[in-house]
Each structure stands twice: as C-alpha cells, then as structure tokens.
C-alpha cells in the first residue's frame, strides 16, 4: 500500500490510504480550513468537498450533480452495470422508484416488522458469546444483525446471511482491488434475486418481495425486473452500512466509560445517542457525477467529473456543530447528514437506526462494562463505507 500514500491531501487525496482509513478526521480538518473542495487524479480523478454547507448545496442541485454513478470508485472496466434505482437515478425516474420502496421502510412498518426480530436476534447472538468473556464485536455481533434483518424482511432463509455478507463485501469493499471478485459477487447477487423474484411471482408470500411485486408506481404495475433491482439495492445499501455504524458505536462505547455508564443508567437516551454516534462516525460516503461544465467554489468541474460526497466530513464541520470532534452523547442540536440530505436521503434510515438502537440496548443490558482487548488489533473498512471489521472486546 506504500505507493498509495498521498503526499498532498488537497491535490492528491487517496481514500484507501491506510493513514486516512485510520484517522480521516485530521485530514478533513485540514482540508476544510485550507482547501474545502479537494481534488485528486487517482482512480480516474474526483473532487471532494468537506464542508457541510457545500455538501448540502451539491446534494440539493440534482441537475448539475447527478446520481448516475454513486460509487466512490469508478466501475471496474468491462463489468456490466446493474441499475439500482432510485439510488443511482435522477428525476423524473427517481420519483417512482423511491415511492416503490419507501412504504416498506416507514417508521411504523420498521418498528412492527423488524424490532421484535432484531431484539430476539441480538439477544441470541449475545447468548452465544457472553460466557466467553470476549468477542469480536464486529464479526460476531455487528456483522450478524443487518443481513439477518434483511433476510427476514425479504422472507429468505437465515442461512443466506453469511452469503449476503460475502457478496456485499465483494462488491463494495474487497472488490476495490479485485475486479474479478467484484464482478463475480455482483453476478451472484443478481442471479439469486432473479430466481427469488421469479419464485415469488409464482407463489406470493407475506414478505417485502411479494409486497413490491403487488405494488403500482403512478398507476403502472411494477415489473419483476423492477423488484429484482430493488432487492439488490436493499442488500447492497443495507448490510455493511448498518454493520459499520453498530461496530463504530461499540468501538466508541468500549473506550468511553462515561458515555457507556450514562446510557446504562438512562436507556431512554439511546435514541439521541444513536444520532450522535451516526454524526461522529458516519459510515457512508457517496458520489455524484457532474452533468455539465460548472464552477463550484472556484473549482472548474467538467461534465463527467466524479464528486465525492463526504457526508462524514460534513458531520464534523465546526461551522455547524459545536465541539464537532467531540462525541456529546446527549447532543441536542444535531442536523447530521449521515443518511445524506435532499431527494436521495437514505430510504432505509429508519431501519438502520432501529437496528443500531436495538443492538446498543441489548448489548448494554447484558454487557454494561467492556473494553477493547487490544486497540491495535482493530481494523477498519474504507472507501464507500467506513467501519470496524475486526473489533475484539473483553468483558
């Protein structure tokens, strides 16, 4: 990785640089005050805003900054593109695709369908390791929750969860440096959902796949192809994102006994703490593609240029958040953009924060005191999604 170490963050940033993966915060602070829209020629070139207000302005200007490609790294050459509306679409197509998925993720639906399941799942996972006095909280806890919640929602067997994790990591994380793996995992995901949706067309059940198949968008019946793409999106967008935010929350609480003990004493504070942990350790960075030549904050952008939507950096902007680099577990004013802003606000945000809340509540109820076994053993995923991948804790 030595050759990827960037020398000048303003003109040559590298999101996969190990020092950035370890500590992105000092880089953002430097960029915000010296070069708030950075540029790099790496990975086919991109721009990277780090100020909150600039990120909002770009997210709101969907005509200039389109969502036709939202990956932070350019597609693997020669690999087939899989459309994933609404996340990779613009108005007017975006509207209908978003209306299709939103009802499955309304706060009420998520609470009724997912909370009892997630709570039982978290308790069972803890049962499995609590006697050991130690656990890899990333692998044995955080990673286990989102794929099972999604499998439950789609009405597919729980034993698909590990396969889902492998596919999503292959597409989003490990696939950065292994194009074949990325293509293989993407094809496997697509094939799986072609078959699943086909079987639900024949035999509808009480699950979200069947519900989507029965839906209409603006008076038009939904096609099996629409639903296949929606399912792939639910998987890609819903697994390592939430897994990362649960892991980061546990990583923080392991090292901050004051925050941990306060949440144990005042469990009603957990929903507020979830928002603050989402702000401070936002897992997701997206991208936009410039549609026509434009000048943004003095930067000449060409049509086709990629813009890295560094929402995590915006969430640490001291112009917007007091003590931005400090986790204030009961922060009252918190307009964080962990789920983005504007028309592409994460459609699954209610499910994600529910999983986080339940994961933290169940953990603290059973394991109120814990710490990192070895801070140097913690590893982080980088790029589109940042979160712990190895997180040994002892209790």
């Amino acid at each position: 990785m030595g050759e990827t170490a960037a020398r000048n963050w303003a003109t040559d940033y590298e999101l996969l640089d190990p020092s950035y993966v370890e500590d992105p915060w000092s880089v953002w602070d430097e960029l915000r005050s010296t070069c708030p829209v950075a540029h790099t020629d790496r990975h086919d070139g991109s721009w990277m805003p780090t100020r909150y207000d600039d990120l909002v302005a770009i997210a709101q200007d969907v005509e200039t900054f389109t969502s036709r490609s939202v990956a932070v790294m350019p597609p693997v050459p020669g690999s087939p593109v899989i459309r994933l509306p609404p996340i990779d679409s613009d108005p007017p197509e975006h509207h209908g695709a978003r209306r299709l998925i939103l009802p499955a993720f309304s706060p009420r639906r998520v609470r009724e369908r997912d909370e009892p399941f997630a709570r039982k799942l978290a308790a069972e996972l803890i049962d499995g390791f609590i006697a050991d006095g130690r656990v890899d909280a990333a692998v044995q806890y955080a990673q286990q929750i989102p794929p099972r919640v999604i499998a439950h929602m789609l009405g597919v067997p729980d034993d698909m969860s590990d396969t889902f994790v492998d596919w999503v990591r292959g597409i989003l994380e490990l696939g950065y440096e292994d194009a074949d793996l990325r293509i293989r995992c993407r094809d496997a995901t697509l094939e799986y959902f072609v078959e699943l949706v086909g079987s639900r067309v024949e035999n509808p059940g009480d699950d979200v796949v069947s519900e989507l198949l029965a839906a209409e968008i603006d008076g038009r019946s939904v096609t099996p192809e629409d639903v296949i793409h929606t399912c792939v999106l639910l998987l890609i967008a819903g697994i390592d994102t939430t897994w990362s935010s649960i892991g980061s929350a546990i990583w923080h609480l392991a090292q901050h006994p004051g925050d941990r003990r306060r949440l144990v004493a005042e469990p009603e504070l957990v929903p507020v703490a979830v928002e603050e942990l989402l702000r401070a350790y936002s897992p997701v960075t997206m991208a936009r593609i410039v549609s026509e030549p434009t000048v943004f904050r003095g930067c000449p952008m060409d049509a086709g240029d990629r813009v890295i939507m560094n929402f995590p950096a915006g969430n640490r902007d001291p112009e917007v958040f007091d003590d931005a680099d400090k986790v204030i577990i009961d922060r009252a004013q918190n307009r964080h953009m962990a789920f983005g802003v504007g028309i592409h606000r994460c459609a699954g945000s209610n499910q994600a924060r529910l999983e986080m809340r339940v994961a933290i509540e169940e953990w603290l109820a059973r394991i109120p005191e814990f710490e990192l076994e070895d801070p140097s053993a913690v590893t982080w995923a980088a790029g589109q999604v940042r979160g712990p991948r190895v997180l040994p804790v002892v209790f």
């Binding site: 209306r99 939103l102 009802p103 706060p107 928002e275 004013q333 918190n334 307009r335 028309i343």
Partner: protein, 64 residues
C-alpha cells in the same frame, strides 16, 4: 406556539416524528406533517424547538 412542516423541503428523515410523536405524524412514505392544527401545548414548546433544530432539511418552522 405553532409548528409547520414545509412539504417541499421534507425528505422523510423522520427526526421530528422520533423526537415528538405528540406533535408530528408521518404518512406511509415517511413524509411528516403536524398533528391537528399545529398548536403546540406549553409543555411541548421545548420539544417543538428541538425538532426544528434537528431537521436536516430545515423543513420545520416554529412560530411563537
């Protein structure tokens, strides 16, 4: 005190509904609106200001 949600700005983050379900409801798509005529009882005024200060889209207006 009165609250209003600007439907053109609301993107369905549901932060207001999570903080103050006494004041806001959301439709099947997650978009928010005020309950009733938008009057805020005295004991909920702090909560109303809190929802305004947590809306990422600046969609909530509080009028004293």
């Amino acid at each position: 005190m009165q609250i209003r949600v600007d439907p053109d700005k609301c993107q369905g983050h549901n932060r207001c509904y999570m903080l103050a379900p006494e004041l806001f409801d959301v439709d099947d798509y997650g978009y928010a609106s005020h309950i009733g005529d938008g009057d805020v009882p005295g004991e909920l005024e702090d909560k109303a200001r809190l929802t305004r200060d947590n809306c990422p889209e600046h969609a909530i207006t509080v009028v004293d």
